[in-house]
Symmetry: none
Subunit: 400 residues, 2 copies
């Protein structure tokens, strides 16, 4: 839905929406059984809701497009995922729960090894996270500021770190210094737009300082990529009048929720922890984004059976959520991750919406192949938020 239209019909009320995102839920059939992960799993709660609720297949970005988690979540949250591309540096910073300020320019870093002017190892032997933490501690002590720009360096994992340049004049539009192949010299960081000249200067000075500080280390060179600022998105409160909370155990999803102004709740790693967080906070918000990661993780691992088991846990969780009596429950995914492909895919997502105002589709169960027969048909994921708002009676009549 266009923002302009939404603004003319959006209204407030106190009903509650729970959006359950089982990451990478959709799959492809096991050649032996001809059943997908979702079709194989025993899901009595989801199957019952597919009878009494409305379903469809949602397309995150476009036909045939395999989305990353950033754009697919933006689409789910109702933001144009192509217009609002989230830079790599921002995703990496979000992924370590770093709270980005509007003036921050973030970049992903690799600790690499430079020898005789050439990058001989882009990952410095894939150093340990502990070694990375040691290097970041040294750098944080030695490089606090460059020409008025505050420098924040944070470990991610193994050879990966994030650097945040905090300063009003730090603009987007920088090239990267990573030659992308070993045996080549690192590149200069260049400004791709006139307003990013200062940022290029600061970034190159940062690279020189790091090289100086780490000159006796194996990991003696910072390769910087994906320079980006936080996209300027209206918050859930501004866009939908929703007090929204995110319950997600993985940092990247907490970061994505933070970008759209959700309150990110402390929770544990298990689905049971997330459910408890939902229950404890149920009265404080009217929108909950509950993210379940393991469906995707096992899909990525190509572990069909383990993905099936997580789906069965999701089913039990949905049963528990029903007991809290939200007005609308939706269950879907950000993208498909078929165990057969061991990765994200372009296949549309099963989507299910339960509400007393939903058309009962009488589907025989919740699956990729049943959902395509549902009331919503095959539809863009960006329309999910309008559907949730409509079924919670938040959208007024358009026109007379």
């Amino acid at each position: 839905m266009e923002d302009k239209l939404l603004q003319t019909i959006i209204s407030k009320n106190d009903t509650k929406i729970v959006l359950v995102v089982a990451d990478g839920l959709g799959g492809l059939p096991d050649p032996e059984t001809s059943l997908t992960e979702l079709e194989t799993a025993c899901t009595p709660n989801l199957d019952r809701l597919a009878q009494t609720g409305s379903s469809g297949l949602s397309v995150p970005i476009g036909y045939g497009v395999t989305p990353g988690s950033g754009p697919s979540h933006l689409a789910l949250f109702g933001y144009d995922p192509i217009q609002n591309l989230i830079g790599r540096g921002i995703l990496e910073a979000s992924g370590i729960d770093f709270d980005l300020a509007p003036e921050d320019l973030a970049a992903r870093g690799n600790f690499a090894t430079l020898k005789d002017g050439l990058i001989v190892d882009r990952r410095a032997g894939r150093i340990s996270t502990e070694e990375n933490q040691r290097l970041c501690a040294i750098l944080s002590k030695e490089i606090k500021e460059i020409d008025g720009v505050k420098i924040i360096i944070q470990t991610v994992k193994e050879h990966r770190f994030v650097v945040i340049f905090r300063g009003k004049e730090m603009a987007e539009g920088l090239s990267e210094n990573d030659p992308e192949k070993e045996g080549l010299a690192p590149l200069q960081i260049e400004s791709l737009r006139s307003e990013s000249r200062f940022a290029a200067e600061i970034s190159n000075k940062f690279v020189a300082l790091v090289t100086e500080v780490l000159k006796t280390e194996k990991a003696n060179y910072p390769l910087l990529r994906g320079f980006a600022k936080k996209p300027n998105l209206p918050s859930f409160d501004q866009k939908y009048f929703l007090r929204a909370a995110a319950i997600a155990s993985y940092p990247m999803y907490r970061g994505l929720a933070r970008l759209v102004g959700m309150d990110v709740l402390l929770t544990g790693e298990k689905i049971a922890d997330e459910l408890k967080t939902l229950k404890d906070n149920f009265s404080n918000f009217n929108f909950f984004y509950l993210h379940i990661k393991k469906t995707d993780s096992y899909g990525e691992d190509g572990n069909f059976a383990a993905k099936v088991k997580v789906i069965e846990e999701v089913d039990l969780a949905v049963g528990e959520i029903e007991k809290m009596r939200p007005d609308v429950i939706a269950v879907t995914a950000d993208h498909s991750t078929p165990a057969l492909l061991s990765g994200h895919s372009w296949h549309p997502n099963p989507f299910l919406l339960a509400s007393k105002h939903a058309m009962p589709d009488n589907l025989s169960g919740f699956s990729e192949r049943e959902c395509r027969k549902g009331s919503f048909g095959v539809f863009p994921a960006t329309e999910i938020m309008p559907l949730l708002l409509a079924h919670s009676l938040r959208l007024k009549k358009f026109g007379a």
Copy 2:
């Protein structure tokens, strides 16, 4: 899919795609049997692929829009059919396998009869093709060039010819000289844009010269319509990184394929000839557009039974194509041509995609009414190319 998005995710590989276009495939039910042409035909191969592959109904231009072959093919090939309208002159020139240069301005011509300053017969008694060839030979000898613009005159059929004005200053934007009714005087060709003044002058000089040369003939006047230049479309190679070949027995479809930079292969009139061409060239390309005309021809004739028979031939051909083991086979149409309407129609096209990465839709067969239950739903024909690219693993992940 927007070109900008496509450019960020497109990649190359060596997998092979065969797109079978059974022109005018979709139909409407025979009132006696309540079955469409496709439902009546015995199509064991297509029915099997509708079980194991993914289907949908594709909309070429928009809901309710009956497309001509030009725009419906552009949509199939993934080009915006409304933004890239192909002028009639270009279609007519393409239809006789004429290889257009970028500077060419082409127009459709009718040989007409002028008497006492009025057009008394817009088709000069529908002269024979041989008579047309005789006149074109005379004109080609007498009119080779006007003010530096090269003139090329080619017979099409009966009273129809094509004239190509080859010269850098020949711009689009001309009115036509056809009064469209008999008993009226022909019109002056006028420039509709400032840059087409020169083209209008040359065109009017051409009309005067033809009238002079043919003054003793019955067919003594050229009515010119649809002045157009070749649209400037990126080629399949540029847009999709595909080495694309066209196998089509009718000139117009060869011309359309040429406009998007496909290699147009020599082939015969029968489906068997086209299959042989496919087989002989299978190793040389990674995309094949295989066009079957007779489904449409019999639809246009209102010949339900003959259309059914051709569909059965298409089914056999698809079986043969499967044996060549392409990675993706798609079977669809450019537009529907129900025998009941004896013409093109607005009804969406049955679309079927077979690939090991496709969701098996388990449809009970390949037909208009089964396809609407498929994974792709009812979707724009311009999304067919992205789907073919995705299923041949040519589209990288979008965003992180």
